[in-house]
Structures are given as C-alpha cells and as structure tokens.
Amino acid sequence: MSTRFTLKDPARESRLINDRLIFSAIFVGILFSVVMVRLAILQVVEHEHFDFLSNRNRVDIEALPPQRGLIYDRNGVVLAENIPTFSLELIPEKVEDIETTLGQLAELFMLSDDDLSEIKERIKQQRRFQNQVIRQRLTEQEVAIFSANRHRFPGVDVVGRLIRHYPQGALFAHAVGYVGRINERDQQVIDEKNYKGTLQIGKTGVEKQYEGLLHGQVGYQQIETNVQGRVVRELSSQSPISGQALYLHLDVNLQRVAEEALADFNGSVIALDPRSGGILAMISKPDFNPNLFVTGISTKNYSVLRDSIDRPMFDRAMRGHYPPGSTLKPFVALAGLELGIVSKKSKTFCPGWYTLPGKDHRYRCWKNHGHGSVDLKQSLAQSCDVYFYDLSHTLGIDRMHGFLDLFGFGQRTGVDLPSESRGLSPSSEWKRASRNQVWYPGETLISGIGQGFNQMTPIQLAQATATLAMRGVNIRPQLARATRQTAGSDLELMPIKTQDGLPIVDSANWELIIDSMVEVTDGPRGTARKVGEGLPFKVAGKTGTAQVFGIKQDEKYDAETLEKRLHDHALFIAFAPEDDPEFVVVVIAENGGSGSKTAAPIARKMIDQYFGIRVEEIDADE
C-alpha cells in the first residue's frame, strides 16, 4: 500500500502514532480518575447528605410568583388590585392517574367537558412539575368539600393565590383593560422562566401595554418536603420582585362624569391635558365588567359580549372609526389661511347650497335657506358648509390631506395602548392605490366638511385638538403618568413625549382659528352657545354632526322617521381656557343626532368637573 508514496517511512510513522496513542491512553486514564474521584465524593463523602435529601426528604423547587403591580389613578385611587382567593391546583408529576383524578374532581366540582379538555391540553404542554389550575375562586364551601376529600387526591391541593380585581368595575374596562389566563399564544412571547407560577397576563389596555413593568421578577425557594409533601425546611430561596405600581393620568371622578354624561349613548369621551398629553378621562361605551375575564370568562357570558350588536368589547376610543364632520373645519380653515386661499376678511356667499362650476348637483348647507355672506370667523361659529365647500374646492384634496397629516389624522397617535387603529385621511393617491379609482372633485367638497371617506378615531381627534390648543406643539397622548418601584419609594415620572412642532408660518392664523372657536361657545350665533355660559374663562370648541348614511338629493333628514341606528353621530371638540389651555375634551355620541344638542353639553359637564365648577357652588374639598 505505502509504496504509492515514495517519501513515506512506515516505521517512523507507526512509531509516531504509537507514541501519541500511548500519550492519549495516559491522558484518558487521568480524565477517568477525575471522574472516579468526583463519583467517590458524591457517593461516599457526601453520601449522607444526598441520602438524607433523597430518602427521608424530597427536594422541591417552588416558583414564587411576583405580586403584580397595582394601578392607580392620578389621585391614588386603586383601579386594579390583587385580592387573595383559593384555587384548586394539581401537580401532574405527583398524580398517579391524571385521567381518573380529573374525572373524580369533575364530579365533585361540576367541571364541564370543555374545562376538562382544556386542562388536559395544558397538562400535556407544560412541565410536569408545574402547578396546573383546575378551578379558581373557590367558595368557602368548595374549600370545605375538597378538604374532606383531600385524601383521595394526592398531588392535588387548594392553594391561596392573589388574583386581579378591578374595584371600579366597568368604568375602566377599555382603558385599563384586564388580565386573563396565559394561553398558548402568550406562551410563545413570554419568558417562560419568569412566568413560572404566574397564572395571568395582561390581555388588553394598560394591563397589556405595561405587562413587563407590572409583572415583576419571579423568585424561587428550594425546600425539603417529607413524604406527605409537608415543608420541612427551606434550603435556599430568592424572593420575587413585585411588579411596579403604575400611576395613570386618569382621574376617577372625571371618568365617572364622562360615563354618566354619555348616559345611554354608545360612543367615546376623551379628556386630556394638552401640556403633558396626559389622558384624564377616556371611556368607550358600551363597556363590560373586566372582572369576568380574570379567571376565565364562561362561554355563556362571553358569547353575550361577543354577539351583542353594540360590540361592548370594541374599544371605540382607540379603534372606532368616525367621520369627524364639522369638527374637521377648524383644521381645514387653518389650511386655507396658511396656504393663502382665504384671509380673515374674505367672504363667501351661502345661499344654502353650492355647485361645482359647470355642474348641476347641489351640495347643500345644513341650513336650508343659507347663511348669507360669511367670513371665516362666522363660518366656523355657525358651521357654514358652503364656505368650506368653496375653500376645499380651491384647496384640493391633496393639499388638504398633506396639511391634515401634520395634525396626525390618518396616523396612529402612538398613545401607550395596544391595538390603536390608524383611521383614514383620504387623498387621491390613497384612492388610486386602494380602490384603483380616480378622485372626483365632489369628493373633495364633502371631505372638507369631514364627511366622505374621512375616518378618524376619537384619540386622533383628541390629539389634533390638543395640538391646535397648544398652537402647534405636538405632544403624544399618554395614560401612564408615573411608576413606583416599591412601596415608599419615590414616584418616577414618565417622560413627556413631544413630537416636532408644526411648521405654521403665521402665528396670527392660530389666534384667528381659536378666536373663531371661542365664537362657537361664546358668540351670539355660535352652535354651542350654552357651553361657554357662566364660566370665568373662555372655551374654544367646535360642534360636529356626522352623517351615518347618505340622504338623497331630494330627501330631508327627519329624526322622527329614521331608525335610531341611522341617526347622525354627535361630535364636539373643545379646549379651555382658550388663551392658556389645560384641558381638552372630545365627545362622540353615536347616533346622538346633533353635536350642539347632545355632544356639547357632555363636554360642558367635563369642563365643570375638571375646573371644579359646581352648579350649587358646593365648596370643593381641596
């Protein structure tokens, strides 16, 4: 064989390899001696220690779940707390026959087949030494029943647990959200180790957004238990680190006023402080009781919520799409001023309708016999549609879209809540891309009065109003105000997120728009005259009445004969005081009929509450 390579010296090579083989044998001998020494240490020297652990005792490692951080409103009122309850739990590796055990437990506690298969699924997926909840929130009677039967169920026990509770009930259902049982989808995104022993996770609202902050860090204890599973002593432990407490900008009193003022209307009310972006009140109606979800909502309750035509679980403040109606007019007017299309003095004649050059179609003003000759201030105060048809026509949809973009219409505001919707601020490009159609001039007219394709979310409207109030300073709306690491430590304030200021050239334009909005609440012909009455400061506002369905050319809108669901949406945006704004409020009452009659009074109630103005002048307890 080796003759193929003339340079090879087989004898030398075999010596070389043999030397290496001998060296390897010696090295291996040393390695295995180390292993034997290690085994001798474990099995002879430390034998008694391990024998003790193994024989008379068992070592258990228990996860100590952290306490979830509490959520407070701005005054320190608790919005989400943890209350102690008993739950029935099972450790799969300690149960001999899971099938039979579950069957017997099902009889005792009347578990449904659905529950059972869900529990079995969980047992299959997770580690065998992890607790599995069979049933939460046991009544005292159920605890007693189990105690009497405990001997039949080794590996099953009643465990005291803290579970989430929302003392304010439905009031913060959408804003604060709720926690629920960790499901498969959650399992894929969480750090499995840190959630050992944790049963619940934030599903919606603030609870979801700030999950990482609220949850905390898991701890563990290594304990010795005897054959009965009783703890003999603790070997080592690491305490869990509780989640941080979260303080929101929300004010429970203001929230309650909003809830009561909106009464039976579906819709949304948002109030915020434009200086910080802090959201003071935010409701979406109808709402629901978040406590139902904490321990797993029953199928029956869930289908009631899911199938209701009013969609109570839908967060309208974040995801509701509404045509802004006339509340868009101040922004369109500002565009007109800024681009030099209209001026403070220029006037338009309103005969009650508007036609495009060379067309017959009449675009009507809400006031059938017209406003006559109006300037910008009058047209905003009286919400004249014809003025805005004319302005929009000259402006064109794309310039309008570009300007509204600055105020964040059709974009997410970036508020600290999950699942915010984008809304829609139309443009000719959008129409071509999404519908493959050209833009018609008539569509520009109705866009200019906030109808047509316009779809805004309440939070967008609130942010745009705040930007207007602050004369172009754009601050991101935010629910979280501060956190507290541990009880007694200082509050850590959340940073205020200011975005780029608006590139408005002439600051007098702001004042003209805002003056006109004051005229709405204060002027003799303002559409919301009652809002400004009897206040020590001036309120800037704008009403809006948004059509839910189109009225044909020759028809008249008649509330009497129309189904409630097709009534117009009532909108109102406002901020106060006009010269030094600290309060912005947006009201949307679905099918409320008219902005001035329905939405504006709700906003006034919010203003009264915020500024501590009482009808009976009861002294505020400050």
Binding site: M1, S2, F5, L7, K8, D9, P10, E13, S14, L16, I17, N18, D19, R20, L21, S24, A25, V28, L31, F32, V34, V35, M36, R38, L39, A40, L42, Q43, V44, E46, H47, H49, F50, D51, L53, S54, N55, R58, V59, I61, A63, E93, F129, K193, K196, V218, Y220, Q222
Partner: protein, 376 residues
C-alpha cells in the same frame, strides 16, 4: 505479539475465535460490547418504569445496529478510504438539506425524512469526518505539513458548525473531537498543539467582552446550571441527589427512589448514568467505567497493531472518541461539565447513536481482521 497466537493454543476458544474471525468479528471486542449492552438493557428496564415495550424497541435497534456492525466489519479498510470523499460529500449535502427541509424534533432541526425512515445526517458525519481526515492526512508522509493541517481543520469545522446550528451542540462537540483526535494522532508538533490551545484560550476573554449582557447570562447559566434551579438546574440537582444517595453499593436494582418516583428527568436517555449510580452505587458505576475503558483499550490495541497509517489514525480516533462520549455524559450528570445532551454510549435509550457507535466498532474489527490478508 499477536493475540491470535495465544488463542490458538486453546483449541476450544480457538474454534470460536476462528469462526468469528472468518466473518471478520473480533471476539474480545464483541464479548465486551455484548456485556455492556446487556447491562444497559437491565438498567433501561429499571429506568423506563419496567416497560417491556420500550425494551423490545431497544432490542430491535440493537439488532439493526449489529447488522450494521457486521457489514462494516466485512468491508476492507481500503474500500473505506476509497469512499472517504464521497461519504463526506454526501454527508455535507445532507446536512445542508436538513437546514432547509429538515423535520423539527424537540426544538431542533436534525431529521431528514426519507419516506420509509427518518435519518439524522449528523450521525453519518460521526464516521465520515474521522475517515476523511485520516484518509487525507495519511495520503502524504506524517506529520502533516501546515497547509494540510489547515485543510483538515476546515474539514472538521464546516460540519461541526452546521450541526451546532441545528442546534445540537453535543453531537457537534463529538464530531469535532473525532477529527481533532485524528490530527493529534498524526503527530503534529507539540508546539503547534500548545500554540493552538493558547490561541483558543486567549480568544475567550475577547469573545466575552464583545458579548451582550443577556448572552453572558446565558453562558453563565450554561456553565453553572444550579444558579437556575427552575430551568436547567432542575436536572442537575435531581441527578446529583440520585448519584449521591446511591452510596458505595447502591439501593439495588429497581429500588432507586429518585428514578422510580420519577424525580429524575430524562432518566432513560441522557441521565441513565444517574440511575445506575443510584441503584448500583460506586461499585456498579466503577465496573461500568472499567468496561468502557476495556472496550476502548481493545480499540487502542487494534490501532497500534494496524498496518497502515490510515488504519491506525482511524482506529485510534474511533476508540478515543468513544471515551469522549462517556466522559462528556458522565461529566454532565455529575455536574462536572455543562449539560449539552450527549447520551451514555451503548446504554441510553435511543436508536441512531447506537447504530453509528456499533458501526464504528465494525470498522475497528475490519481493520483488525483484514490484517493478514494485507501482509501474509
């Protein structure tokens, strides 16, 4: 000098040895393997909750593995050398296709579904890598030149990285060691070896410096699993209790509480050594380790008596890699080494590694039994 001469003096053993030799089986190695496999089945019965179905499946695997052993023992070592590049090339292609078409099992992509059976290309590489490196280095005079050293290192690193990416760190380490052992045996100078070790050691702090915090944390947990008693540490804590409580003589077969009460996870696969230690004590594991050393010792004897450099290198690598297996597994369950997931050879439940292992011993037997025919 030759063991067969001594055998011939005893007519009875001579006839058995001779008939085994005729089908290219080395009697001593064969008997040692059968002994360890038999003990393994006994342990598996205890570790696998006395499940006979499990036992039967393992027996079927052993049967398949022995067929493989027999086939390889009857292939002349020269043929293996001829096939080395093809085998390695095929293995590499399969490894790459696993990355794209592989099946996931327990979170790692290792399996290739061939319709009738599922196959781990990394197992093929366990043999293909040492065969190729031995072939390549033995083509020219030993010790190898620096260029050939670099080429052979590349031959090792490419499959090792592909397998580590699956991720299967245990197999990756084993394959890398099998190749590195060939290089070591080929006689490269000690200054190169020491230089290599120093270079690797000095690269570690640099690596540590550029790592992210969470990566460092992961490495620390990997090195010291007991700092994480809820996750990786659970296995080790339970394993140490099982081993330590076994004492000098053990609790007796089927009597280990850690194993029988299911405190010990993975007890029929990666952690089966702890079951042996619990039930048979230091004596039991001592005897087992001695059996392993005897198997490898026979392999080293075969290596030293082989007639070509290729055969020496290959036989030496197979024998020593076998001990690396044992060392990594025992080191892991006793808490000496981090947990990487290497089964205890010949004893752990599981099929593919058994086939490769016995195929390796088939190669050893082939090297030994084809000797005479090469040089009468």
């Amino acid at each position: 000098m030759n063991s067969d001469i001594t055998d011939r003096r005893n007519p009875q053993s001579w006839s058995l040895t001779r008939s085994l030799f005729a089908i290219h089986i080395d009697a001593l190695l064969f008997i040692l393997l059968l002994t360890v496999l038999g003990v393994g089945l006994m342990i598996l019965y205890s570790a696998g909750d006395q499940n006979t179905a499990l036992l039967i499946r393992q027996l079927v695997r052993m049967g398949t593995a022995f067929v493989g052993l027999l086939i390889l023992a009857n292939i002349h070592p020269d043929r293996m050398r001829d096939m080395a590049y093809w085998l390695y090339g095929a293995g590499l292609i399969l490894l790459i296709s696993v990355l794209f078409f592989g099946h996931e099992g327990k979170g790692a992509q290792r399996w290739l579904d061939l319709g009738f059976f599922r196959f781990q290309p990394s197992e093929l590489m366990k043999l293909a890598v040492p065969i190729l490196v031995a072939t390549y280095l033995a083509e020219r005079p030993l010790p190898p030149t620096f260029t050939r050293l670099v080429v052979s290192l590349a031959m090792i690193i490419v499959p090792a990285l592909l397998i580590a990416k699956q991720p299967d760190l245990g197999t990756s380490i084993l394959i890398a060691s099998s190749g590195l052992i060939v290089i070591f045996l080929s006689g490269i100078s000690w200054s190169l070896i020491i230089g290599f070790i120093i270079a690797a050691a000095s690269a570690l702090p640099v690596l540590w410096y550029v790592m992210h915090d969470y990566q460092r944390q992961r490495v620390l947990t990997f090195l010291n699993p007991e700092s994480d008693p809820l996750g990786a540490g659970y296995h080790i804590i339970q394993s140490k209790i099982a081993i330590g409580s076994g004492g000098l003589f053990g609790r007796g077969w089927l009597e280990g509480t850690q194993s029988q009460l299911a405190f010990l996870p993975e007890r029929s696969t990666d952690f089966i050594f702890s079951v042996i230690a619990e039930e048979f004590g230091l004596m039991g594991v001592g005897l087992l380790l001695i059996s392993y050393l005897m198997i490898a010792g026979r392999g080293l004897f075969i290596a030293s008596n082989a007639q070509t450099s290729f055969a020496r290198l290959l036989a030496g690598s197979i024998s020593l890699t076998f001990l690396v297996y044992v060392f990594v597994n025992v080191g892991m369950v006793t808490g000496l080494l981090p947990v990487v997931g290497v089964p205890l050879p010949l004893v752990s439940y599981g099929g593919t590694s058994m086939v490769t292992l016995l195929a390796g011993f088939g190669i050893l037997m082939s090297i030994h039994t084809h000797r005479r025919m090469m040089s009468p």
